[in-house]
Symmetry: C2
DNA sequence: GTTCCGCCGTGAATCGATTCACGGAGTTGT
DNA sequence: ACAACTCCGTGAATCGATTCACGGCGGAAC
């Protein structure tokens, strides 16, 4: 009945050895004679010994925890990312501190301070506009950082090739015979928007067609189902008569499909729909949704790997998952 | 250009005072003359000083981080919980280490070991069957724990009143005139299943009806859309002819609605549907889904509060959000 | 003028794990 | 038999923040 935590000293006393030996058992077991090691291990067992991470880290000067700051933990997309990070950290017995910036610079700043105090081994961030300055402050403290879901040449980063994602989505629609494609896009400031648009244009040009005739862009105020619905309404009213819509993400696609159903248009025969992110629910909808899947878990893994082992930058390839919402054959 | 972290000693040297004084500035500023304090604060600023949490915690013996282990961070339901925890911890300047057990006892055990080594101030857990033994091991180390989403008399806990949730859902369906109600339930071992069932039975009895005639339970192997769909098929084949279905969660409801649409049944005129959890997507579906909302953020806040301040147990009241899937008027 | 007190500031001791220079014991080679 | 090694274990020093017993100093009280 010891409500106290046992320390190496206690273990040493119980096993009749010195603290140095206990430490050796923990860190270089091969340097300790088998008999002694057994004694020490038994003592640790009996005392329910757990090494004190603080003391360990204080001495070592280097921590076994890593911080990650993502935009919004409520978004499954980011939790999948976190999961990849965690899996990679587990390999080297590190721990993850996961923080949600909620797009709020003050929250981000607070977390960076906390992480600095924790003396984390490094920080992984999905950057917002103001992030970079703060990261250089961390660097001055000797704490490295990696940008996630963002490509940057002057910073370690892992990203997804959104040009390729946009290209795959639109190439697929073109292959299905569509010649008037609507792009329900995010704000232009978003790197993701620009890259996907570029990919879409690429695909159209590669098919020998004129982007200005084939593609029409509607910029949404926010990436919500409602704005997706409104965006589609606006596009339909314009009289251009698109036969396919490429949505900035699956939630937007959800809103678009809602409007299609409301106005009696069938998917995909009257209008094909392609989303982005391949959220869990994409496959579960009435009409399963074609979507561009981002390898978030691998992305997280790569980010953590980059931090721990200093491997080079990584750019992942997204993958188009074709389902009934854009494919006549599967209808 | 100091790639090193500054310590209290460095600050003391820069400000021309002793380390004790620097520490006093940090922890009992009122004990330090204003002039001295200003000098020290300026030195801290110049050196970009951050206190070393490890050293702090080693000395203090008590940590400013809290661990939380949830079933699945991929589930928005749990991230909302995490968010409530984090908000409460922020008030007392604590940090959260969030872990996902994935229903895997080995993962849970690993995280509990890591958290014990971190010497966390406490642990918040959404328990699985094998959890309790491990928590008592923690208690022997002096680390308190709180169960979340679970009521327990021999353990600090915060929960949601699932009896009330079940009662509200079924009372609503009864009020809409339904007299044959299907319950697509989770495994019986789940406390949640038993409580909701009890609430459903309560509601029926309160209405002066016979539960054995009004309610039929189908137990699903897993709480997925597919199993929800299969469960509904099975119930329809039985010929009982329910006019309403109460689903264990929104994902199950999604599967059920998919099957209804496939077989040409209209919601809610042929069949009313009620879900549970009120996920984000509930409101965004073709037919917006009536669902029982759990105050997850408040629950998280309460759990953290209980840990930090030792307030008494808490049981939250869920709230039925009525939408078109169960309400003729809103159709 | 002596005593007492409060105000400020000091610096050594402390927390627990790790490291490393050191040395005792035993083995091998010549 | 003695040097040269290896093998194994020791214990003091270290990391950085905090605490606390202590003391210097100035002012107030008698």
């Amino acid at each position: 009945m010891t409500p106290q935590r046992a320390s190496v000293k206690d273990v040493a006393a119980a096993a009749g050895v010195s603290v140095g030996t206990v430490s050796n058992v923990l860190n270089r077991p091969e340097r300790v004679a088998a008999r002694t090691r057994a004694k020490v291990e038994q003592a640790m067992e009996e005392l329910n010994f757990h090494r004190n991470a603080s003391a360990r880290q204080l001495r070592a000067g280097v921590s076994r925890t890593v911080g990650a700051i993502v935009m919004d933990v409520g978004n499954p997309y980011y939790t999948e990312l976190a999961r990849g990070i965690e899996d990679r950290l587990a390999v080297d017995d590190h721990t993850l501190i996961l923080c949600s910036s909620d797009d709020d610079p003050r929250r981000e700043a607070r977390f960076l301070r906390l992480l600095a105090e924790q003396g984390v081994r490094g920080v992984l961030v999905t950057p917002m506009s103001t992030t970079k300055d703060r990261l250089s402050a961390l660097r001055r403290l000797g704490i490295p950082s990696v940008l996630m879901d963002s490509s940057s040449r002057d910073h370690a980063s892992v990203g997804v090739d959104h040009v390729s994602g946009g290209r795959q989505a639109v190439a697929h629609l073109l292959a299905q015979g569509h010649r008037r494609i609507l792009f329900l896009a995010g704000q232009e400031e978003l790197q993701q928007t620009r890259h996907r648009l570029k990919g879409a244009v690429d695909a159209i040009q590669s098919a020998g067609l004129d982007p200005s005739e084939v593609l029409k862009v509607v910029t949404l105020p926010a990436l919500t189902a409602n704005d997706g619905q409104q965006g589609l309404i606006k596009a339909l009213e314009s009289g251009w008569g698109p036969t396919a819509v490429f949505c900035m993400n699956d939630i937007v696609a959800l809103g678009a499909m809602r409007e299609l159903r409301r106005s009696g248009l069938a998917v995909p025969s009257d209008m094909a729909v392609v989303g982005y992110d391949d959220l869990y629910l994409a496959a579960e909808l009435m009409t399963p949704l074609t979507s561009v899947r981002q390898p978030m878990r691998q992305l997280g893994w790569a980010a953590a790997d980059l931090l721990l082992t200093d491997t080079p930058h990584v750019l992942f390839e997204p993958e188009l998952i074709v389902r009934a919402s854009s494919d006549f054959l599967r209808r």
